[in-house]
Symmetry: C2
Subunit: 395 residues, 2 copies
């Protein structure tokens, strides 16, 4: 991670701290630590509003020094030492602190309150999430590198998919290809209890099985203790194979969905794919700097209704329709902005969002098309570039 | 999951609620939800101290009904509806509620406080974690099934490891084998910010690189945004290959470490392996029902000192020694009890713990041996059964 990236991010955070009349931010969560330091260590990043940051590190101090792009690394053992260690380095103002209250567990937060007994602690999470929405050119390159891994995954699926393979067998091949390329495997979510492991590879009606995830697809998973994703069900000829796997590089993701069929697709699959492509195009037209993120959802819904697939569009397993058609993508897969009903945040140049129209046909499966886009001055550029066809494979 | 499992667990939890003078528990976290319902859905499990549980489910209600072993599933949209929905079902006492404060994020907890404005909310997490330490025969069978996956992973490593492969290439092969067998991939931790993806496959000095994880091994990972685990470094002849990967089945884990070498091990590797096996045996002797969990650590330290490897034993990358040699294993990989310095909790029949002595030799690598044990009336049974040799592979 270039030091200039970190310096710019810290400066932007400090502007926000000053505007909010906060003395400092305390940052602990892995994705945020990486964003503001260039490394993930067991520690606490203290960013004063008007002084250089201090990175308090328990483990590993040596790696924090080697990989981190924050000049001052301060070893510590317990949170209670941090105020004194900070004061020794000239940082005394403890009145109002901003923290990641959306992700910090209550017990950990209570320990921090004890360590900073006189401080007022306020939620800084929305500020951090908004700050992270606009990607730098360096971040966009990381997402492009992740998209190259998505391409390799698709090439592997195309080469090995055969009738009668189970979903987990096919997933194993595709995931191994990603792993050889350095994919990190685990996909980070910000929201509590959300879990993912590369993403979803689901075939036929199984793709339409709902799960606890806040996602248009679920799947049975290997057993209820996992509860989503690929299962032991064999893949059959003619049914849609939904590839909704996440490419990853340098912690950044590329979210992409493609639909495959072994042998000739049934007429319903081909018709639905034509519709989903139309919806994808309509949504893409709404990806314009200055327009509200929720407008992408509205455009997609209108197009879905026009194609006659309004009922199937983003259909929830519970009946009714999910209220979004996409989300921001970066160091977490559920970043802002949400391309969701009524979401007013305007799209801005530099934001990266995944647009994922999906048609859920309970007897047939899920037919989807998803790309990760960079918002540019005059529209949006797809960072995922695998051909957007319904791909017919030899069974 | 058999319904009788769930009924027994709920009854034990209710005993604790009564003893603590709590009116009910509110359970939200994935691993705990699975433990107490048999399914993972987006919802809130309410367990009154003296009435049958109610499982409030947002998504997926149909899967909660199908997989869940709690009789009453109540659909809801917002936390604020729960008190009224519960009251309609005869549950009125809202005075004192127990919650998982070790894992619930602050913002989510604040939303629950708003939904139950008159309730006193106390931390129930330690009670839940203690309750989960003693495994039923059904749980032990799940861990044995996970251990079979560990065996398949070792067989695959033995078949494909070659000089010059990168760590991620070898990991890809071994992980794919586990995946085909239905491994869930992601390994759940209870502690904040801990992450793992199958576990660690590390070779040579790279194994001794420390990371943020609370683990004796770290590794570089593919890049700093991951910060631990397998890297792009090629595996060399004669260096120790540390297999510390986790088998998984039905959400339960089997934690096992074996050490391999391509070609003849250097004399230092062979000597260290003999020592680690001696330490493993000494630790195993201390695995007795009624003895304190911390005694296993003390026994391992004494044996390590005796073999002359005291300094290398559980050596932290920061200098000094980690204060543990093992941990409980179940639906999370960092369960109680900790086999840690001064940890007084007595071992009990039915507990399942991983014992993982590791010798960290910075120039050479990590030499380790780890098994998952079930505490029985007269000692402990290893649930992981792959031969405990330093395995020499054809390079």
């Amino acid at each position: 991670m270039p030091a200039a990236e970190i310096a710019r991010r810290i400066a932007l955070l400090q502007q926000r701290l000053q505007a909010l009349d906060l003395n400092a931010a305390l940052i602990l969560q892995n994705a945020d630590l990486y964003y503001f330091t260039g490394t993930i260590q067991d520690g606490v990043l203290l960013v004063p509003a008007e002084a250089p940051p201090l990175f308090f590190v328990r483990r590993s101090v040596s790696r924090a020094r080697e990989e981190g792009r924050v000049a001052e690394i301060v070893p510590y053992r317990a949170y209670s030492e941090i105020p004194r260690l900070a004061e020794e380095r000239g940082w005394r103002r403890l009145g109002r602190l901003g923290l990641e209250l959306d992700v910090l567990p209550v017990s950990l937060f209570q320990r921090l309150q004890k360590a900073f007994p006189t401080a007022e602690m306020v939620d800084l999470s929305m500020e951090i999430r908004i700050l992270r929405t606009r990607k730098s050119p360096w971040e966009v390159e990381a997402i492009r590198a992740a998209a190259v891994i998505s391409e390799r995954m698709v090439a592997r699926l195309t080469a090995v998919a055969r009738e009668g393979m189970t979903e987990v067998e096919l997933a194993a091949e595709v995931e191994a290809e990603a792993r050889r390329a350095g994919h990190q495997g685990q996909v980070r979510f910000r929201r509590f209890n959300q879990e993912s492991f590369y993403g979803h590879l689901l075939a036929g009606p199984h793709g339409a099985v709902p799960a606890f995830l806040d996602s248009p697809t679920g799947g049975r998973g290997p057993y209820p203790a996992v509860g989503h994703g690929a299962s032991f069900r064999p893949i059959r000829r003619g049914e849609p194979i939904l590839f909704d796997l996440v490419g990853a590089c340098h912690g950044y993701y590329a979210d992409m969905t493609r639909t495959f069929v072994l042998g000739e697709p049934g007429p319903e699959v081909a018709r639905a794919f034509t519709a989903v492509r139309t919806i994808w195009e309509a949504a893409g037209e709404a990806l314009r700097s200055g327009l509200p993120a929720g407008g992408v959802f509205a455009a997609a819904v209108a197009a879905a209704d026009e194609t006659g697939y309004g009922e199937a569009f983003m259909r929830s397993g519970e009946g009714g329709r999910l209220g979004y058609v996409g989300h921001g993508v970066g160091l977490e897969i559920d970043e802002l902005p949400f391309l969701a009903r009524g979401f007013e945040m305007p799209l801005e140049e530099g934001m990266v969002v995944a647009v994922e129209p999906k048609l859920v046909l309970p007897e047939i499966g899920v037919i989807g098309l998803e790309d990760t886009f960079l918002i540019r001055p005059n529209g949006a550029e797809a960072l995922t570039t695998v051909p957007r066809d319904l791909t017919v494979l030899t069974p």
